[in-house]
């Protein structure tokens, strides 16, 4: 965990913005966490990857990984703040959408068209931030490309990729 001071409000800010970027079902948390915590040195990329992998392996919404991110940033308090922030903003947004459904639908439909590309661009920028510091070898790069193909084109469930990486990592660690 980084020794740099981190206000709890920063966790709230990132979680709220990450949630709001999720219109259309996109994952806005990844680029927000990368930009605000990893790129600034407040969170090690390897810890983010570990939390993200855990979120992929657990049942329910994969976004549970933010609890791990909050924990690495500010301990148990950070984990609670991260979870509560998402719950509150989602509850507000859900209620708002519920009562405004007929008026919001055309607007949301218009925004959802570019959102796929905006989210895609954000995530690619994030992916670069995660991959570049690893300085992957040719073999690792090929493995990464294989994962991209499986996830992006074959609709592979990420849980199998994480399990395979876990198994390989444990074997190599022995």
């Amino acid at each position: 965990m980084s020794g740099l001071p981190l206000g709890l409000w920063e966790i709230v800010y990132v979680m709220v913005l990450g949630s709001l970027l999720g219109v259309g079902g996109g994952n806005g948390f990844i680029p927000m966490i990368q930009n605000h915590f990893i790129a600034t040195g407040k969170l090690d990329a390897s810890l983010f990857s570990w939390a993200y992998a855990l979120g992929t392996l657990t049942p329910g919404p994969k976004v549970g990984f933010v609890a791990g991110v909050g924990y690495y940033l500010r301990g148990y308090t950070g984990a609670v703040v991260a979870v509560v922030s998402i719950v509150v903003i989602t509850a507000i947004a859900s209620g708002f959408v519920s009562v405004s459904m007929s008026r919001l639908s055309p607007i949301m439909k218009r925004i959802s068209l570019p959102s796929a590309f905006v989210i895609g661009g954000l995530i690619i920028g994030t992916g670069w931030g995660l991959a570049a510091p690893l300085h992957p070898s040719l073999l690792e790069g090929a493995a990464m490309a294989g994962v991209v193909y499986l996830i992006g084109w074959r609709d592979f469930d990420p849980v199998w990729v994480v399990l395979a990486a876990l198994a390989l990592g444990v074997l190599l660690s022995l």
Binding site: S19, L20, G22, G24, I30, P31, S46, S49, A53, L54, G55, P59, G60, P61, G64, A67, G68, Y71, Y72, V83, I86, T90, A91, A93, S94, V97, M101, I111, L113, P114, S115, A116, F117, V118, I119, G121, L122, G125, T126, G127, L130, L134, M144, G146, V147, V148, Y149, L150, I151, G152, W153, F156, D157, P158, V161, A165, L168, G169, V170, S173
Partner: protein, 195 residues
């Protein structure tokens, strides 16, 4: 994305208590895999067949309408159903319930496996996971882009926006500014697929 038409949203056959909402959605959060769509049958079994809170038509409506909520889809779905049942309190408890099992499990992993252990004894494991997660992130981006239902011309424009965004982010441009410009540009130039 199809525009959802609200069905006749009747009061639930069996009133929902706040504790009942919390336990029902916690059960779903602890036992479902594959996201909201993968868990749709279990959701129907729990909320519709077992508890009588929503019928099949309402469930399908909420599954689609959840994509309008700026939040992860499963949580948006829980929020909308919870709101229907017991207003904001029901919404918050439903979202909390569906999220907490995963959050607790991740916390256990984070607490039990310290960063020091991860970095030293399991260094190769950390590296393989990091490579895998980077690949998953790129693959997720690719899936987003491939699933966009836009015209061919708009797709080319969209990809140009993606490239520009990625370069801007890597070069350190303020994220909010990049997002705002991309959204404004995309809203005007990206058109849906004509059928």
């Amino acid at each position: 994305m199809p525009q959802p038409n609200p069905p006749d949203l009747n009061p639930p056959a069996h009133p929902a208590s706040l504790l009942g909402i919390l336990t029902a959605f916690s059960f779903l959060g602890a036992t479902t895999f594959g996201g909201m769509w993968g868990a749709s049958r279990q959701i129907e079994r729990e909320l519709s067949e077992r508890r009588g809170w929503i019928d099949a038509e309402e469930m399908n409506f909420y599954l689609v309408a959840a994509t309008l909520v700026p939040a992860p889809k499963f949580m948006g779905f829980a929020g909308m159903v919870g709101y229907k049942l017991r207003g904001f309190a029901g919404s918050a408890l439903a979202i909390f319930g569906v999220l907490i099992p995963s959050a607790v499990a991740v916390m256990l992993g984070a607490v039990l496996v310290s960063p020091t252990v991860l970095a030293t004894e399991f260094g190769p494991l950390q590296r393989t996971l990091s490579i895998a997660v980077a690949g998953i992130v790129f693959g997720t981006a690719a899936r987003h882009l491939r699933n966009a239902k836009v015209s061919a011309t708009s797709r080319m424009i969209g990809l140009a926006i993606v490239l520009a965004m990625a370069v801007a982010i890597v070069m350190g441009a303020p994220l909010i500014l990049v997002i705002a410009i991309a959204f404004v540009l995309g809203t005007y130039v990206i058109k849906g697929k004509t059928t």
